[in-house]
Every structure is written in C-alpha cells, then in structure tokens.
C-alpha cells in the first residue's frame, strides 16, 4: 500500500470529511428542532392533527433513507424543489431524523410523572411555566441518553448521502479508489476511520451525558 496515495488525495478526503461533519451537525440540529416541533404539536393538538403527524412519522420511519434522498434530490425538481447535493443531503437528514427525535421527545413527555404536574397545577402555575420550569429541565435529563444515541447513529448514515452525489467521505474515497484502481486498502482504511469516529463520538456522548445529568439533576 502506497502512503503517497493518501497524501495525494489527502485534501479531497479531508474535504469529504468536512462535508460529512457538516451534514451530520446540520442534519442533527435541524432534525432535533423539527422533531421537537412535531412532538409539541402532537402533544397539544387534536385527533386529526395527531393522525396526520403519525402518518408522517410512520412513513418516514418505514421507508429507506436512500429512497427518501432519491425522492428529495431526483424527484424534487418535479414539485419545485431543486437543490444542490449538500443542501439536499442536509434536508434529507432533517426529514429522516425528525420522526426519531419526535418519538424520543414524545416518550419523554409521556413518561413524565403526572404527580408533579398535578402538584404544580393545584398551586396555580400556568401551563407554559410548568412546561418551561418543571417539565423541560427534567425531561432533557431523561432523554439525553436516547438523543445522543441516535445522533451517533446519524454519523453512520452520512455514508448513504453518497448515493445522491454528496461529496462526503465515502464518495471521495470511492473516487480515489476508482482513479487509482486500489479498492481494498482505501475501503479498509475508511472502515477503520468510521469505526474510530463512532467509538470516539460514543465516548464523547457518554461524557456529555454525564455532564448534563450532573448539572440538571436535582434529587
């Protein structure tokens, strides 16, 4: 295996990694926001809205990410949405992740001890203040684990963005492999790199969890 290969393609690979990280972060934040909005909407609306939201959640969770990306990127122009690969990738991520985040927030809402709500209401605190001061701080603690878990899963899903020509890490590696006719070494290195990245972000995630729960948890 020639190391100058990696030197030659270094910049391209680094750029690809940058795109990977960009899509991951932008997609996670967007997904979190959208997911939270969906969960709140679900929580405070009636039967029909809930039904519609559930259809959205089930549709996105039941179909492959790849197909969703195809619909957005290749099908998009047919309903007025023409995007470049990277924005399409980020949008795809946001759409793909939103139901999972929504479910996490929703179960956080539902598993909240009703007794505390009753106590707050009986003292006369209004709903929004209850949500803001009592529910959210505690809920964020309890859902930190599934949230970080899923965000770490998203790091792996970035690889799929390559199918809609997003120039992220896998795509750049494939280019390098095709141009140099070496396939095993680059993909082996890529595998190890993803492995390391996931292990590292998992470790980071655990530290974040520990820190967050320490600050927010009051017995």
């Amino acid at each position: 295996m020639e190391l100058d290969l990696f030197v030659r393609y270094g910049p391209a690979l680094l750029h690809g990694f940058g795109v990977t990280v960009l899509c991951w972060i932008a997609g996670s934040i967007g997904g979190l926001v959208l997911g939270f909005a969906i969960a709140c909407l679900y929580h405070w609306s009636g039967k029909w809205m809930r039904w519609a939201l559930q259809v959205y959640i089930d549709a996105v969770r039941g179909s492959p990410f790849m197909i969703q990306l195809f619909i957005l990127y290749y099908g998009g122009p047919y309903f007025g949405l023409t995007l470049d690969p990277v924005p399409a990738g980020i949008l795809g991520f946001i759409v793909y992740g939103s139901p999972y985040f929504a479910e996490i927030f929703r179960s956080g809402f539902q598993s909240f001890p009703k007794g505390q709500l009753e106590a707050a209401r009986s003292v006369g605190i209004n709903e929004w203040a209850i949500t803001r001061r009592i529910v959210l701080p505690q809920m964020l603690v309890s859902i930190t684990a599934p949230l970080t878990n899923f965000i770490i899963i998203l790091t792996k899903e970035t690889a799929i963005l390559s199918v809609v020509t997003v120039p992220e890490l896998l795509s750049e590696t494939q280019t390098m492999a095709a141009e140099t006719f070496t396939y095993v070494e680059p993909f082996l290195a890529l595998s190890l790199f993803y492995w390391f990245m996931v292990e590292f972000t998992s470790w980071l995630g655990k530290r974040v969890e520990a820190r967050v729960t320490r600050h927010l948890k009051r017995a």
Binding site: S63, I67, P77, T82, S191
Partner: protein
C-alpha cells in the same frame, strides 16, 4: 459503483410538473417482483444474524477473557462502520482474497455479519433483564452451562428481546436498499432502472417507498401479534 442513475435532466420544467399515476401502474409489477429480492436479503440476513448473534453474544458474556474481547471487537466494528461501507468493503475484498463470488454473496455476507452484531447486543440487553437468581438455581441444581443457556436463558432472552428483534428485521428491510449499490436487483435498483427509462423519479420512488412501507407495516403487525401471543408488551 455509486448508485443514483440520475436522469440527465434534473432541472425539470413546468411541463413535467403533473403527477403521472399511469407510470406507477404500468411499472408496479416490476417493483413488486423486485420485492422478492428485498425480502430474501432481509430474511437471510436476519437468519444469519440470529444464529451467529446467539453465539457471539454467548462469547461476549461467558467466554474466556480473550474470546470476550474478540466478540466485543466484532460487535464494536460491525456496529461502528456504516453498513454501506461494510457492503462495499466485502464487495471489493472478496475477489482480492481469491473468492470470485457473485455480488449477491457480498450482500448476504455483509448483511448477515452486520445483523449478527446488532442481534448480539439486543440479546445481551435481554439477558441482563433476566434475574440472576434463575441462573443460580440452575447452578445449584448442577445444570451445565450449555443446558442453562439452551433451555433457560436463550428462550427467555428471545421473548424479552422480541420487540427489538422485530425492529431489527424492519431495519434490515430498509437497509436492503443499499444492496442496489452493488447491483442487486432489489426494489431500489429496479426503481432506479425504471426511472432511467421513464424519467419520472418522483412517481417511481414514491411507489417504491410505499412498497417498503407495506412490507414493514406487515412485519410490525406480525411483531405485535407475536408479542401478544407471548404475553409481553
């Protein structure tokens, strides 16, 4: 080898704005026929995963120290690397090590090895949910470890882990779409081919999505029925 046979003209003009159900109905049979490959890949992947997953889980929990470490490494690798990368790695590696097998083998192998790691983790969590006393009672009676696993621990772990295992199967159905990248003629691949001919990506990919949804909805229902029958959840 990347997927995405994009129609040459992505900037579709207003002329193409109408939604054509005709295209869907005309090509539905082809998509549904391709579903058999989707189901085959997922089913075989799951079966391999269940069999090997039990073994890897057993190795992870109760083997000698080196085996536990090796099993842990296996699980960590196959859960840490994206499946698409695993698939491509196997696809390129097979001929490299002298095995000139069809792409199908690469697909089945990587699906199987990946699901093994996830099943092993699911089972590990389920086993931890079994009260320790049950194993102690077996030890006190002189029951050997293999019998303990086979008769008492694994049956209960499967029951406890059923919801997660059904989930895993649904996940496999979704990631079977990645096999299109190495040319397997499952739903996504066929959809891409049809799109290349008809230039109607929106309709075709939506139709493909619906087929996946139907398969997964059936699996989810079956899973819930199974859970009810076993009296869990």
């Amino acid at each position: 080898m990347t997927a995405g046979s994009a129609p040459a003209n992505r900037k579709a003009g207003p002329a193409a704005m109408h939604f054509s159900f005709q295209v869907i109905f005309h090509n539905l049979p082809f998509l549904i026929d391709a579903a058999k490959w989707t189901i085959a890949i997922s089913a075989v992947g799951m079966m391999i995963g269940m069999v090997l997953g039990v073994l890897v889980c057993a190795a992870r929990i109760s083997g000698p120290a080196w085996l536990r470490w090796a099993a842990g490494l296996y699980i960590s690798f196959f859960r840490g690397v994206p499946l698409l990368v695993q698939l491509l790695l196997f696809y390129y590696m097979l001929p490299y090590v002298g095995l000139n097998l069809p792409a199908m083998v690469a697909a089945f192998t990587s699906m199987g090895m990946c699901s093994t790691a996830y099943v092993a983790e699911i089972l590990r969590g389920s086993l931890q949910a079994i009260p320790r006393g049950q194993a102690e009672a077996a030890e006190a009676l002189g029951i050997a470890p293999v019998a303990l696993w086979r008769r008492i621990l694994i049956p209960q772990a499967l029951r406890i882990g059923l919801p997660s295992l059904v989930n895993e199967l649904i996940l496999l159905v979704k990631v079977s779409s990645l096999a299109s990248v190495v040319g397997i003629g499952e739903i996504t691949r066929v959809a891409e081919n049809i799109t290349g001919e008809t230039f109607r990506p929106l309709e075709i990919y939506l139709a493909a999505a619906v087929i996946y949804l139907v398969i997964n909805a059936i699996l989810a229902q079956a899973g819930r029925a199974g859970e009810r029958r076993l009296g869990i959840g």
